[in-house]
Symmetry: none
Subunit: 209 residues, 4 copies
């Protein structure tokens, strides 16, 4: 349990950041459904009333968390420059990023998943979270488009559908209930085979392992 010590009299923004982080940790533990303002306050080390002073309502709090997730994803996206790479290289970089996030910040994916679930019934959350989803999908679509042009991918590839397939596969990977999971690498490899140009198969083999 991460205890952010009281540190009384903080700036509002620091507090809001601490609240968002505590909320994210709690969402990971108990789900968005099991999120309780009292628990967040306790974890931050402040009073319930103080929490409401900084974040006026639970609705606002969820939005705050969504926003913090969005910013973290954007920061991660900006950290990696894709210029000067072939489409296939970019795709693999994208896969590497996903694997890295899965391994080092699984929290981010879990919270995003919960947020997307809620977004279906909460337009305010949808407004924040949809761009993340959309950006990720667009990213793949652009890679596929580029790849068709540079010959990395099949000429008859439908880049939008392929992006949908790719993001769907990765996103749903989380929701598998049976513990016997096929390793992500096999999935990545299969996606490359699926969309790659017939003659470029040697490159893929290297990547698989």
């Amino acid at each position: 349990m991460t205890l952010h010590l009281p540190s009384k009299r903080c700036t509002g923004d620091d507090r809001r950041r601490a609240v968002a982080l505590a909320a994210r940790a709690l969402i990971v533990e108990r789900g968005l459904e099991g999120l309780r303002t009292r628990d967040i306050a306790a974890r931050v080390g402040i009073n319930i009333a103080t929490l409401h002073y900084h974040v006026p309502s639970k609705e606002a709090l969820v939005a705050l968390v969504a926003e913090s997730v969005r910013l973290d994803f954007r920061a991660q996206a900006e950290r990696r420059p894709r210029t000067g790479k072939t489409a296939l290289e970019q795709l693999r970089l994208e896969f590497d990023d996903f694997r890295e996030t899965v391994e080092e910040m699984p929290e981010l994916i879990i919270v995003l998943t919960e947020m997307i679930e809620r977004a279906r019934r909460d337009p305010a959350i949808a407004a924040i979270v949809a761009p993340i989803q959309e950006h990720w999908r667009t990213q793949f679509a652009e890679i596929f488009e580029l790849g068709i042009a540079d010959g990395s991918f099949r000429p008859n590839l439908d880049p939008v559908a392929a992006a949908l397939i790719t993001t769907g596969t990765l996103a749903d990977y989380w929701r598998l209930l049976t513990p016997l999971r096929t390793p992500l690498d096999r999935v990545f490899a299969e996606i490359e085979h699926a969309f790659g140009a017939p003659h470029s198969s040697q490159g893929k083999q290297n990547h698989v392992l």
Copy 2:
């Protein structure tokens, strides 16, 4: 709003069925998180105590709903005989089934999605819902295996990974937040291209539209 009028003095099984259906409708409307026993009772037209007479607790109620979803999926699966078809035909039948479910019983998919979400934190629900997920995936894996043998699909296809990709794509299709959706057909077509043997592409074109 479907109001099952009072219809007093039902037999227990009928009531349980009615309760499950009402619960499913409410889950579609407000999510599993927003499901309230009192609302279910009201929709079925019975007293809250009567609800508890037939379904002893909310936990049991959610399990009942999960079970009813499982049975509906199984019934649907049994309705369609796959014998004597090529792998590609079977894949297309599977796609047709999915589209049919999406169009005629979207409720079923929405509720299943919510159940899978809950299953991550509730082993009892996981026990009921995991088999559905697993069966669907296995179904695709078998089709792909068969297809590799009969030459419909690529010889280097990884059937398990391909199944994971297929089910993930379809399952996640629901979670897209942006209303501008690529039609399912394009996704289906792309999957066929992706896994199909290079020379069998002419068949797919027919299917797309």
Copy 3:
């Protein structure tokens, strides 16, 4: 758990008796406060509605139990003739009876204790249970009166107060919470000493053990 098998279509009186016995067993297990009509019905092997058919209300049910306890106590009292005994002998018989009841029908005492507790707030139960309490006390008072006359007990003994002391001691013996209990015999012996004539002490010694 004593299961009185269904034995459908019983006479009303048999059923009422079975209900009373089942209720007594449950009172022993969970107290009068924890008594539930459903549990009684289950133990008797009948439906809740059937229980209400035979015993119209819970109030009547508690009265039924009280009455059944009263009858059992009366039957026990009638089984033992006290004629032709000295007062001291009668007192010892009374003690023996108590010990016997404690050992062989503790249920009866426990249920009576619970009933007396409730009687304080329920006049209907008080009307049934008070006579038991009163009869027991009177019994002792008469023994003491007789004993004063025949010289077994102190001449300055207050028979009514002595009876109160005796019954109070025995009745409260049950309510001791600390497990290290002084054996009943020592209490009996002390009562004899306390009320006995100064010179008759030798007889008591024999009785103690």
Copy 4:
């Protein structure tokens, strides 16, 4: 009915004390079985949720009441110094205390009685209440031991049994259902006779009235 008017914004300990007192009054009126959290809240003049804010559960509430009874008994016991008195004087002081409690704080005895009843099935309550019972009994046992030594009481007295008899008598005095009660004084006097040394009877006569 004592209505503790709103008196908003109390400190936590005051509220807890008020809750305990209100609960005690209600236990006197309706018994521990009939105790309802809503009634307590109403009597204290607070919302039911406020009650739960100060006392987290009904279980804790009953424990709180038990504890408050225990503290009151202990305070009463500490108020009376017994040093420098003969055993007989101490016994009479004990009787005076009991009579005083009966007359001025009958509530305390009634609530204790209910608590002891519950303690039989609730170890948590037993842990709180048993010491009261035990302390009272030990008190008497010590007085009797002292009295045997200083000649106030019979040399063959069994102090433990005598204490059991004394406390049992007084405790059960409450449970008499017939309104025609022998005055407590006659019972006290009889106990003195019963345990006193044969020659010290003159002192008792004075005490009786």
